[in-house]
């Protein structure tokens, strides 16, 4: 409950939204059992027209609610893992560049710059085209374009930390440079990097949605992006098929941003 009290109004709203989404994702096997890609009713039922299909059905007769729920799982899975990979890889590269300095720093930062020069969505697209679409490759592809910010932030933090006394103390103790970098400096530099988590998760959700909207997502899973793309073919007759999953996307990303802002506010209050 202390966590709850730490948050401001915005942060609490975000926490509630995300908690609801996680609950939805966890309870999916009970609310909407079976394959969400299976045809379960008449095609193109309007929302709220039938009690068996509250959100209606798509043009093939698949339940929209089941798609939404299973989409929540895919979205949260891909977004959380790719944000985690991006933050971990970014902080490792940032620590190496910042702590080692010299040639290693130059090479690693030029590499980071190169990754930042190419749009991260384009990188993800190219990576998926090479590896083929599946959940692990999507996670890899998305984190390929999003680790750079974490690397830059960690490097800046490490540069200011490495002259501190505790690093000198570790050196006097006889620790090896890489040991100092990862056991002493990195844990202390991780705070500012962790505050990028919300932005990374939100970016990952949007990239995943855009990839599956273009048809480069995992074909065996329902995602919100693929539902929007599916609904687009009947946009004139049934716009709700594209609009409903998009609302789910907006709510999720908004929840992540709200919680992230709420957390960073409370962090700033503590010295």
């Amino acid at each position: 409950m202390t966590f709850w009290r730490m948050l401001n109004l915005e942060g609490r709203a975000g926490a509630i939204m995300l908690a609801a989404l996680v609950a939805m994702a966890l309870l999916t096997p009970w609310i909407a059992p079976g394959d969400p890609l299976a045809i379960t009713g008449e095609p193109m039922l309007r929302p709220f027209a039938s009690s068996a299909h509250i959100f209606g059905t798509d043009r093939l007769g698949r339940d929209v609610l089941a798609g939404l729920l299973h989409g929540t799982r895919t979205t949260l899975l891909v977004a959380c893992f790719s944000a985690a990979v991006a933050l971990i890889v970014g902080s490792i590269i940032g620590t190496l560049a910042g702590y080692l300095g010299g040639l290693a720093d130059t090479v690693l930062m030029r590499m980071t710059e190169a990754f930042q020069t190419v749009p991260s969505f384009l990188l993800a697209l190219a990576a998926v085209s090479v590896t083929g679409p599946s959940v692990p490759t999507l996670i890899f592809a998305i984190s390929l374009g999003t680790w750079t910010q974490a690397a830059r932030v960690t490097r800046a933090e490490v540069l200011s930390l490495r002259e501190r006394d505790f690093v000198a103390a570790a050196r006097t103790l006889g620790m090896r440079p890489l040991e100092i970098a990862f056991r002493e400096v990195l844990p202390n530099a991780f705070g500012p990097t962790a505050s990028l988590a919300a932005i990374s998760v939100a970016a990952a959700i949007l990239i995943e949605a855009a990839l599956s909207f273009l048809g480069f997502g995992d074909p065996n899973r329902v995602t919100w992006g693929s539902m929007i793309a599916e609904g687009r073919t009947v946009l004139r007759a049934a716009p709700y098929l594209s609009i409903v999953p998009g609302v789910a996307l907006v709510v999720t990303v908004l929840g992540v941003h709200l919680l992230g802002r709420g957390l960073s506010r409370t962090e700033r209050l503590q010295p």
Partner: protein, 349 residues
């Protein structure tokens, strides 16, 4: 102590003055320095994407055979040899790099044309789209940001801040679909896709108006996220500047609030927004991939999706390089503009 430092600097300065062959105009040396950092970055992009795309299973010949349907093994081998795909990766990279040095980006197997000509044909449309979207997002975003930041904590500040946060969560491609439903399907005010009316025979101002009408929805769906971002950035920066002592000095001198807001607080707050313009260039180019697909605009962004869908590796490589160069040039222009806006930062010093 201070004097001696000044003398050193003076001597340094005079030395430069006395040797005119080493003092380039500031703008030229600025460009040279930027080129020196941009070239290694481009080289990393080139080698990296070449190696990654090399790892793809199936090459352009496989895709070509799959599309044409009927080819025997001998023809396939001949085609591989013709396109240089029978050689090792190192040899092919050397061939690609030396062709690139002559401005040749290779042959697009999907379009049956040189990659460079496909890209040059598509790029202006995307630059127009991005340019208009950036201008709109920057002007409206920073104006609304000033309105929100002028009276912190007021109703309009809270209203604008909250709605910008909501807007920031809206994916551009979905916004595009919603705008199509509203303005093209229901109201029938605007066209739902394309860059201009097909075979309309329009010329001159009529054609410009036609393209403008086609651009409204894509520009809106591309720009909204950035509008929200710039609004927030402007407002947050202004809230920091209000706490700065120089604002109190201005108030004490009796300047009107309007003058303090616009001439002093807003002017200082706009600088990080300008920096952000450059940082967001890559993201916006990525966003244009999806937005152009939604609106069926034959632009550079959609080319990326087409290259992936049709397994056209040379084209995808060209698109990646082209977008990297675009991003570098946009950042260069932003830095030049920054120097104009902020007298403390001057190019070439």
């Amino acid at each position: 102590m201070y004097i001696s430092v000044d003398r050193d600097k003076l001597r340094e300065h005079q030395k430069l003055r006395l040797t005119p062959e080493f003092s380039l105009p500031p703008l030229v040396s600025f460009f040279l320095r930027r080129l020196a950092t941009a070239l290694p970055v481009l080289a990393v992009v080139l080698v990296g994407s070449f190696l990654v795309l090399e790892a793809a299973s199936g090459d352009a010949v496989d895709a070509y055979v799959a599309r044409s349907g009927s080819m025997d093994a001998e023809q396939i081998a001949q085609l591989r040899q013709e396109w240089g795909l029978d050689q090792g990766p190192a040899h092919r990279f050397k061939a690609y790099a030396s062709a690139l040095a002559r401005g040749d980006l290779g042959w697009s197997t999907a379009f049956e044309r040189p990659v460079a000509s496909v890209i040059l044909e598509r790029l202006p449309i995307t630059l127009l789209l991005m340019g208009v979207a950036t201008a709109l997002a920057f002007v409206l975003g920073s104006l609304l940001g000033v309105i929100a930041g002028a009276y912190l904590g007021s109703f309009r500040d809270r209203f604008l801040s909250t709605s910008s946060l909501a807007l920031y969560a809206v994916p551009g491609f979905w916004l595009g679909l919603v705008l199509i439903v509203i303005f093209a399907v229901d109201l029938r005010w605007l066209p739902s896709g394309g860059i201009e009316s097909v075979a309309s025979g329009k010329t001159g101002p009529a054609r410009v108006a036609d393209i403008g009408a086609h651009l409204i929805l894509p520009v809106a769906s591309l720009a909204m996220v950035y509008l929200a971002l710039y609004l927030r950035l402007m407002r947050d920066r202004m809230s920091e500047i209000w706490r700065d002592p120089f604002v109190n000095a201005l108030k004490a001198r009796g300047l009107s609030r309007r003058r303090i807001v616009w001439r002093h607080v807003a002017r200082n707050a706009v600088l990080p927004v300008v920096t952000m313009l450059g940082l967001q260039a890559a993201a916006m180019l990525g966003g244009s991939v999806v937005v152009e697909s939604v609106f069926a605009i034959p632009g550079f962004g959609r080319l990326a999706a087409e290259a992936v869908a049709r397994r056209d590796t040379p084209l995808l490589l060209g698109v990646i390089l082209g977008s990297a160069i675009t991003v570098i040039i946009v950042n260069l222009l932003v830095d030049l503009a920054y120097g104009k806006l902020d007298p403390r930062v001057r190019v070439g010093r």
